[in-house]
Amino acid sequence: MTFVDLISQFAPEIILTISALAIMLIGLGLEAKEKRALGYIAGLSLVLASLIVVFRGTYGFPLEGIIADSLTIDPMSQFFKLTFLLVSLIVVIASLKQYDNHQNQDEYYTLILFGTIGMMVVASAVDIVTIFIGFELASLSTYALAGFNKKDPSSMEAAIKYFIVGALSSTLLLFGLSYLYGLSGGLTNVSDIAEFFSANPTVIQSPLGIMAMMLIVAGFGFKMALVPFHMWAPDTYQGAPTVISALLAAGSKKMAFVAAFRVLLIAMIAVKVDMAIVFTILAILTMTIGNVVALSQRSLKRMLAYSSVAQAGYISMVFVVMSPEALTGAVLYVMSHAFMKTGAFIAVAALGYMLVKENSSAKDVDHLDNFAGLGKRSPFLAFCIMIFLFALSGIPPTAGFVSKFILFYSVLKGGFVFLVTIAILNSALSLYYYARVVKYMYVLPPPSSEKLALPRAYSLAIFLALIGVLAIGIVPEPFINWAASAANVLGL
């Protein structure tokens, strides 16, 4: 591989890096008011990177082992890169209005871009050290972003909780990965490790090996917010600036999934350690507890956080089933969920922005009561929230339905009737709390009859997410095919 090849393969990352650095430099000499332009730079670089991923890198780049076998470009990496890029793009667009006069916009956009780069590194990484580095790059950026509203105590609390739990999980993960490294005699490439353990199964079935697997599961479990490692998520999502909650739920959490797909699935297949029981329990606990707790939430951000926990439970069924179809479903679910969740969080952020503008002392703007009569006060916003929520509960014709359909289908195909029945019951349960918000928006009378003016930046961001949700729902074929080819690269 020549240097030019290398650059062209990683053009999206390179573009983001350059623009992140540029934003930092340019920001030094600008007044707060002028810094708005930096957001446009960030947005443009994300658009450019997404276009490159779509047009150049989706198919036909099965390049294994770039830079000392640590990175790869394959349909899986490209699928997730596109997901992360679009999520970040939507978040950046939504931030344009939220922070248009903020002093620290340059840091803000730089951090978003660095976080995105970290996620993209994880998407491409096939080496445990590289995965860890990508993870830390994304995590450090998002820790800071979660606490971006420095004067707001709950934002600080969110950041601190997220940081402590994140550091703990990184430690556990690193611990587990270092065991793998040691047991395999110094291998870092994921497929090399898998190969080694297939040849020497006794090594991984030793107590130390099982310990390593458990630590890795726990490490990823924190990042994916699986029960019982989920406690940080609701507090963090609630306290963080709402647009950043979107980035956390739709971006950095999904990053954990792609890493887990690569590391856990491959390692588990190779060593035939029967993790199915562990993951069955984790999946059932995650979806059930997530849904049951979401039922009683009155804060929409917390509700979305718990629903996100529940949805992670559905996705984690793939670790039980471990079939190409299940992985296809899970991969597609990750992208669908990214759109639905980003859309929902951004919509909540938009409402919060409008309510604060209307009444600057407004508190708890994401409380359910604030959604009363939204259908009259802001028809477009209410309509989009309704679509996002129905999509999350899996009602056709949305992305949520298609991906749930394929995921449940594959789990049933794998013969796990019990598991899929629980998932379906949970899905029915979830409808209750999603429909309740819709009821508030359309049925209850609004507190004031004055229309809310939705800023254009928010409309655009929400509209993009809406297109994603509907496109996957109505024309699912290309997405399914891409997800299937992504699933293929792991060779389950």
Partner: protein
């Protein structure tokens, strides 16, 4: 005419989108009327072209476009003898409902848009020949009705709407499990309903076949609904606005019955040694529904609730006819679906008018309405008579065929069901007598008789009820031939 079914399906959807953005009530209802009437014209056109002599599972006006090819999912529409009359029913009822709701002044643009979405969803269910598509439309019907109940409903609307939503959504999910199981067990790698049904009998494990059957059955049972899964229905009806009730009882319940004929009956002979157990189960559920709901109707104080329970009982005849599984009973049951759609619409419209003019539906508070509202009394009386099965009305043809047919194969159940007819006559006549006749209850104020827009749809419905009661052939022939050729029914 290649894509006429798609046209019928999408015109209401497009109409809904336009209606939503109208500013005035006048334009909203006008567009809604046009968007629901054009499908009626198209449906009548294809009804006239329809070849009712073609075998069951031979579809006409077929459209098929590949959608998700990796899973064998197609956009696949078609109509046959089972679905064609129900498509017609839906096409008739929706414009009439729009006319009936002409005076709606609470957010009329949303109201009419939802009715149109509902119409499109029901069309989709009756036309879809791919299970994936079928399921999408099946679920799509939930959302508009949920809003119709929860925004325009009565005092207890929140409870009723969410109960309706959750109840039927859970049933749909169980049905989805059944669809998956059918898909995997047959291994045909397509979601086409006819193909799957033909492959059903080849599934090796008989237990699997029964499990699939029951999962699908459950989905349809709740929708119909059959006792003991009926409790959402009276709540939904009582709280729903009249237009919602008309469409709920008139076409949405028919989706459950349609599922019986489209999906379950062709499977019955594939059940092997469990066939007779399943038939007994169906017959028991049917008779329990008929008797239990009839006696509950007898005890109701609220007239709308009474009509709601009568719907449960009448759908019981559909189930009974299906269970008896012979040509006469099955075609009678299919005809019952069509006929009940018309009759129940008149009943709910009558009750709606009463509620609207005298602001109560309590039978004991009414009395002597015939004095002040003769037009209403006449049309309502006609509806009640049709509902209790008076000869020369469509209800009679249906129930006669169902009972005669089921007497051939399920004599005991048929006799029990006949008891229901007696009680049905009882509660209808009793309610009429107390509400409409006797001396006028002065506390009710000075009611005005039917408005023109209320009278037109009711009169049209009554005419149709009598027309199809005297001359059922146009609809009956279509059903008859279809039911003859359901595998094993001869």
């Amino acid at each position: 005419m290649d894509s006429v079914l798609s046209l019928i399906l999408f015109i209401p959807l497009i109409g809904a989108a336009i209606t939503l953005f109208t500013k005035t009530r006048e334009s909203a209802r006008m567009i809604a009327l046009i968007a629901s009437a054009v499908p009626l014209v198209l449906t009548v056109m294809i009804y006239l072209q329809f070849n009712s002599g073609l075998a069951f599972l031979k579809f006409q006006f077929v459209e098929k476009i590949s959608w998700i090819s990796s899973l064998g999912i197609n956009y696949y529409l078609g109509a046959d003898g089972v679905s064609m009359p129900l498509i017609l029913l839906n096409a008739i009822l929706c414009p009439l409902t729009v006319i009936y709701a002409w005076g709606e002044n609470k957010q009329p643009n949303q109201f009419f848009a939802l009715i149109l979405v509902l119409q499109a969803g029901v069309f989709g269910v009756f036309m879809a020949l791919d299970f994936f598509l079928f399921y999408i439309f099946w679920e799509l019907t939930l959302i508009p009705l949920y809003f119709l109940i929860s925004i325009w409903g009565g005092p207890n609307k929140d409870y009723a709407a969410i109960k309706f939503f959750i109840y039927t959504h859970v049933a749909s999910l169980v049905m989805l499990l059944g669809i998956f199981a059918l898909y995997f067990s047959t291994g045909v790698n397509t979601f086409e309903i006819p193909v799957l049904l033909q492959a059903f009998a080849d599934i090796a494990s008989p237990e699997m076949r029964v499990a699939i059957f029951l999962a699908l059955f459950f989905g349809f049972l709740v929708k119909m609904p059959t006792v003991p899964f009926h409790t959402w229905l009276p709540d939904a009806h009582v709280e729903a606005p009249t237009a919602g009730s008309v469409l709920l009882a008139g076409v949405l319940l028919k989706m459950g019955g349609y599922g019986l004929f489209r999906v379950l009956l062709p499977m019955i002979n594939g059940l092997g040694q469990y066939r007779s157990d399943i038939i007994t189960l169906m017959a028991v559920l049917a008779v329990v529904s008929i008797l239990y709901a009839t006696f509950l109707a007898l005890a109701q104080k609220d007239m709308k609730k009474m009509v709601a329970y009568s719907s449960v009982a009448h759908m019981g005849y559909v189930m009974l006819g299906a269970a008896a599984f012979n040509f006469m009973s099955v075609s009678g049951a299919m005809f019952q679906q069509f006929s009940h759609g018309l009759i129940t619409a008149v009943l709910f419209m009558s009750v709606g008018v009463i509620q609207h003019t005298v602001h109560t539906r309590k039978i004991s508070e009414l009395g002597g309405l015939a004095d002040r509202m003769p037009k209403l009394a006449f049309l309502m009386m006609a509806g009640f008579m049709a509902s209790l099965g008076l000869p020369a009305m469509s209800g009679f043809v249906a129930e006669f065929l169902v009972l005669t047919g089921s007497y051939l194969t399920l004599p005991v159940f048929a006799l029990l069901a006949m008891l229901g007819i007696v009680a049905t006559a009882g509660y209808h006549l009793w309610a009429m007598q107390r509400a409409m006749f006797g001396s006028y209850n002065e506390k009710l104020g000075e009611p005005h008789d039917l408005a023109v827009y209320e009278m037109i749809p009711m009169a049209i419905l009554v005419l149709l009820i009598i027309l199809f009661g005297v001359y059922p052939a146009p609809v009956m022939n279509v059903f008859e031939y279809a039911s003859k050729i359901i595998p094993g029914v001869m």
